[in-house]
Point group: C2
Chain length 382, copies 2
Amino acid sequence: MTLTVRKFSVPEIFFGRGSLKYAGLCAKRLGAEKIFLVSDEGLEKSGWVDRVFELIEDEHLKCFYFSDVVANPRDFQVQEGARLYIEEGCDVVMAIGGGSPMDAAKGIALVASNGGTVHEYEGANRIQRPLPPMVFIPSTGGSGSDVSQFTIVNDVRRRVKMSIISRTLVPNISIIDPFLLTTKSRPLVIAAAIDAMAHAVESYVSLLASPFTEIHSLKAIELIFKHLPRAVETGSIDALENLCIASTSAGMAFSNASLGMDHALAHSLGGMLDAVHGLIHPVLLPHVMRYNLPACREKIAKIGEIVLGRRLKNIDETAHGGIEKLAEYCEALNVSTRLRDIVPDRSELPRLCRMAVNDSCLLTNPRPATWEDMLRICEDAW
Amino acid sequence: MTLTVRKFSVPEIFFGRGSLKYAGLCAKRLGAEKIFLVSDEGLEKSGWVDRVFELIEDEHLKCFYFSDVVANPRDFQVQEGARLYIEEGCDVVMAIGGGSPMDAAKGIALVASNGGTVHEYEGANRIQRPLPPMVFIPSTGGSGSDVSQFTIVNDVRRRVKMSIISRTLVPNISIIDPFLLTTKSRPLVIAAAIDAMAHAVESYVSLLASPFTEIHSLKAIELIFKHLPRAVETGSIDALENLCIASTSAGMAFSNASLGMDHALAHSLGGMLDAVHGLIHPVLLPHVMRYNLPACREKIAKIGEIVLGRRLKNIDETAHGGIEKLAEYCEALNVSTRLRDIVPDRSELPRLCRMAVNDSCLLTNPRPATWEDMLRICEDAW
């Protein structure tokens, strides 16, 4: 194995049941006097936002609350948040929620400190100045935004989800409390866990994978495969905790190894059709894995070994068997596995693929692909 | 599995052949104008220190060089370094070398920024003020100091190695270049790798182990077991690179999960007799594992599964088989495996154990132990 230089960066992590209690203290340690808190209605209803207000008050800190965020967060929401951050004189960004509030919070931190509009930073390594300290509290066990170098923001005019990737987007502290998942609906738990599974699979076969990311990818696949069904059936805190571990591991992996074609397409689908991100992967991931197979047979066989619990006769059988097992696994979760359920109009597929071929995530896909290759995959998946 | 709250913190890592070239740039990114560079004679002779001088000059940065460091670095060396750091107006600490220069550099950064003497910070979490930015470049594939929250400094008057543990001792950036190992002698490569193996084993069974540390511990055991013999026989860069991966993984694990009785004793031996740290583990680790067995049978069996390449009839056999295999493995490396070679005078053992029972590392040993328990273990190992 010859490695070129690989970078590995993760935030400081507080993990465990009840770890939410450190939220105020962590912000204080980072020098907070007035926190810009980002969340959304779902978290408000479940009472977690009020709990965070209490924790902030306990440390005698001030807080400005911003909840004007939707799924697939919009560029104009980020701009408005940044304006308010400055106007209110905040000094630390805190987010509690799923990928959307967390990605919005990163965008806000970025624009508030680096100026201009969020669009100027699309792509990799385009952020020059340091961001304000960030304390993130994930509530879904999926997006990994709390540990990652990524933020994904919807460019409303172009109907494109922009990937912004920079080491400075890694939050300072991630507080991962499995209790937060107990108030999530089953569909949300599933969508988030499948997103984490896609992070794990794509980061594992990524061209930028390293020994430091690979072990996290594999651990995540193993844990999600084992614990998601039980988490869905019983809502057991033990199973949910394991999903949190998996999601965090997958986040550490993809943050440093990046992703692949499945995410390139998923970002474009999110931008074009506002599709629920986590529900795109069951439709596309097995097809993308089949396409990638010639470029990473041994790695896909390793995934096969984990999900099948054993090796089959040879590498090819184990790899194919693994892909089929993953596809069955998604079907058993009662989520859609056909692209037509997300893109009803098949004639939109070419536009989708012409957009996705420009997504940064495609750069690390193990097998190169043109937009026509991607179109064939989407046709198969439709 | 019920977890209490666990913390996980690692530096930003640059890993790979040739990654040394980023040394100057990394310091600059952290705001350096004048670097306090710590290294030792061995690194000077092999030419690496000159290379770092060049890299620093390339970025138009100034540098003060400090090499008054020995193995098991002394408290007075740290104090003198801190005085010079301030006097010279340095703003970033860089270290290139094995555990000793790196630990000395941490001590210097600590005293220069927090004042007083290094003794005042002995134990866990006693550092109040932030340290200057630190860029560390390990040269041995062993100590893990470049990724850890630990520094170990010799209190000359008391003849005790003090463990100082704090999140703020994690360097900002670790640059891990396997080429640096090519200039190391075989005995040094062995001593360092065995130290990493001990980090991996002790962190894996530690009371503070978490899912985030356990996978790193196991990966390190697997890699060292597989690649150390080849690294010693052939000096192949591929094998050395794998030792670097292992050492880094073991470092991430023990930094966050801490260690156990083997290291408590090793620190005391280093303080009392100035013993070579890495060569203590072959003597003690198998005995400590046997003592710990009742408290962590399944975990030691997991280690057994890795080093044996398979499970034996049951957990106990696999665990015992693993310990014996590890002991044989050390013997095959032609290092001493009897404590008498390190402590010629058996009557010193009680003093050793009375000292070691107070080491912070014992707090996370999976099975509690009195100094008398430790004495029995040392008598067995003698």
